[in-house]
């Protein structure tokens, strides 16, 4: 009889999901902080556009710019909130990895399942209500068109691919825990670079000419620029499909690479006698 290979990971998804609900007050603090950051941004861009007599800058009008940055920030709430980096790091420093290796689940698979649970929880608990409010404000307050149904679907698909890409990168970067104890430093570097290169702090059209040509082909584009641009209808349908294709390729490639890294890592663990 064939058994469903994904069944054993369902518990991890569910566990993380429920965990999130248990700690929601702490998380509300973090969400409040994101809202403060968004307010700074609104003010800042208001004054930038005032300097420019409210004319479009690099292809963005003021409402479009606010919509882009708000959507990017809200999207990272569900896309970029996995637990992999932290838990791999903890497992390495506390020596817990060996206890995972004797269980009948793949270590990489377990981490990905936990991230999915986190992302799902964040989606339901925070992203969905906040995004609904934001969307109403964009449509009725700023006068932007409501996203087309297929763009919403593409957005969700591209968001899922973003989770796979980030989770694989996180898993790979967390391996540095074998070499250094300062993963907080690495975490800061990683977050800053991801935020910038994914276009979530500032759209790619503000980048220098040469960078604009390169960025869409890097895995980072799929993390924020692609899903957000799709949702806001900045891409034609064919462009959306091409970008999603690129993200899929990166997602599959990086996931496979992280599985390979996992195998290498296990050998390393055995070698040091953990």
């Amino acid at each position: 009889m064939l058994r469903n290979p994904f069944k054993k990971y369902k518990g991890f998804v569910r566990g993380e999901f429920l965990n999130l609900f248990a700690f929601r007050t702490e998380i509300i603090g973090w969400v409040a902080q994101d809202i403060v950051t968004l307010l700074i941004m609104v003010f800042l861009w208001l004054s930038i556009y005032k300097e420019n007599a409210n004319n479009p800058i690099n292809g963005f009008t003021y409402p479009e710019m606010i919509a882009y940055l708000v959507t990017a920030s809200l999207s990272s709430q569900w896309i970029n909130n996995g637990s992999t980096f932290r838990s791999v790091n903890d497992d390495i420093t506390e020596g817990q990895i060996s206890s995972w290796l004797i269980r009948p689940v793949s270590y990489r698979g377990k981490n990905f399942a936990c991230t999915l649970g986190d992302c799902l929880g964040n989606f339901v608990l925070f992203f969905f209500p906040l995004a609904t409010i934001a969307l109403l404000i964009f449509t009725f307050g700023l006068g932007l068109p409501f996203p087309a149904w297929y763009n919403i679907l593409f957005y969700l698909l591209s968001g899922f691919l973003a989770i796979v890409i980030i989770d694989s990168l996180d898993f790979l970067i967390a391996q540095l825990g074998f070499l250094t104890n300062s993963l907080f430093g690495i975490f800061i570097i990683k977050s800053a670079i991801f935020a910038f290169l994914s276009g979530s702090t500032i759209p790619y059209s503000f980048f220098p000419e040469w960078a604009q040509k390169v960025m869409p082909y890097l895995p980072f584009a799929g993390l924020s620029s692609t899903p957000v641009s799709i949702l806001l209808g900045r891409f034609a349908v064919t462009d959306s499909l091409i970008s999603i294709g690129l993200s899929s390729a990166w997602a599959v490639g990086l996931y496979l690479f992280s599985v390979y890294a996992n195998h290498r890592m296990i050998k390393h663990v055995v070698a040091v006698g953990g």
């Binding site: 998380i27 403060v36 700074i40 003010f43 800042l44 930038i48 910038f196």
Partner: protein, 281 residues
């Protein structure tokens, strides 16, 4: 006071030694804040580039302001960064028992036990930015300009310290205060732009502007002294009145606000710490 001055080098040596166990950690810690500041800097630069100026401040002025700010911010990072760990769960795990046993001021111990090398990176980066953008703006390097600015800057790390201190102290009641701490502390991002851009004329702008100068005075640190240099003779709006752009007057305001912020935060800390109940280890 003398006792603490004598004790500090010993604490510092211990902190540095424990840091030096892993050499790579030191480099990564140093690099961490440098990279995140470079990214903020790049965002700031790219967003201002198309318009070239914000509220009368041109690109070089804004970048110089950013470099200038990094120095007090970095000094605070170096000396008091351990407070984050106390807000983030160290109080809960009973770490304070050890500290309260010793006949030394608890706040001194909490801060002196740790040295955040990332702050050193920020100071270096700040000096670099000032060196790059300084020549592009006309600055008066006479004594009556530089002296009050330096004194003001020497006091302003107290502002960052004070805000971390009172938000951390909430953990004595709440066990954890990391999200409140970082929520309030992150408002420092506002300070990286000249505060005058928030002074838009409507009441929201007015409230944000004055809150940034007095309540969470992140805007005070760099904006005030540099505004006085950039727009000499122009009054600077303040609450319901405005003050002349006199360097010594501005120095006085910065020193006064820094010291009173710290005094209030310390008062709250000393009250809150009485709330601490041991984990019973």
């Amino acid at each position: 006071m003398k006792k603490y001055l004598k004790l500090y080098p010993h604490y510092l040596a211990m902190a540095l030694k424990s840091k030096m166990i892993y050499r790579a950690d030191w480099a990564i810690g140093l690099l961490g804040l440098v990279v995140s500041n470079l990214v903020t800097f790049a965002t700031l630069y790219l967003s201002t580039l198309p318009v070239q100026s914000l509220g009368g401040w041109n690109l070089s002025h804004i970048m110089f302001l950013y470099g200038f700010l990094l120095i007090p911010m970095g000094i605070d990072h170096m000396l008091t960064d351990k407070l984050w760990n106390y807000g983030g769960g160290l109080i809960n795990s009973g770490e304070l028992d050890r500290i309260l046993m010793k006949p030394v001021n608890p706040l001194f111990q909490m801060c002196a036990e740790y040295f955040q090398e990332g702050g050193l990176g920020e100071v270096i980066l700040g000096i670099t930015f000032m060196a790059i953008f300084g020549p592009q703006i006309s600055l008066d390097w006479s004594f009556n300009v530089v002296f009050p600015i330096v004194i003001g800057a020497a006091f302003s790390p107290l502002i960052y310290f004070a805000i971390k201190l009172w938000t951390m102290s909430i953990a004595f009641y709440n066990r954890r205060s990391l999200s409140i701490m970082s929520g309030v502390y992150n408002i420092k991002e506002y300070g990286k732009y000249p505060a005058s851009i928030y002074h838009t004329g409507n009441w929201v702008g007015e409230v944000v502007y004055n809150a940034l100068l007095f309540v969470l005075p992140f805007g005070l640190v760099g904006y005030l002294p540099l505004a006085a240099q950039m727009f000499p003779g122009q009054d600077i709006p303040f609450l319901w009145f405005s003050i002349p752009s006199n360097n010594y007057l501005i120095m006085g305001v910065i020193v006064l606000v820094s010291v009173s912020q710290f005094a209030l935060a310390y008062l709250f800390f000393s009250r809150a710490i009485r709330h601490y109940s041991s984990a019973g280890a």
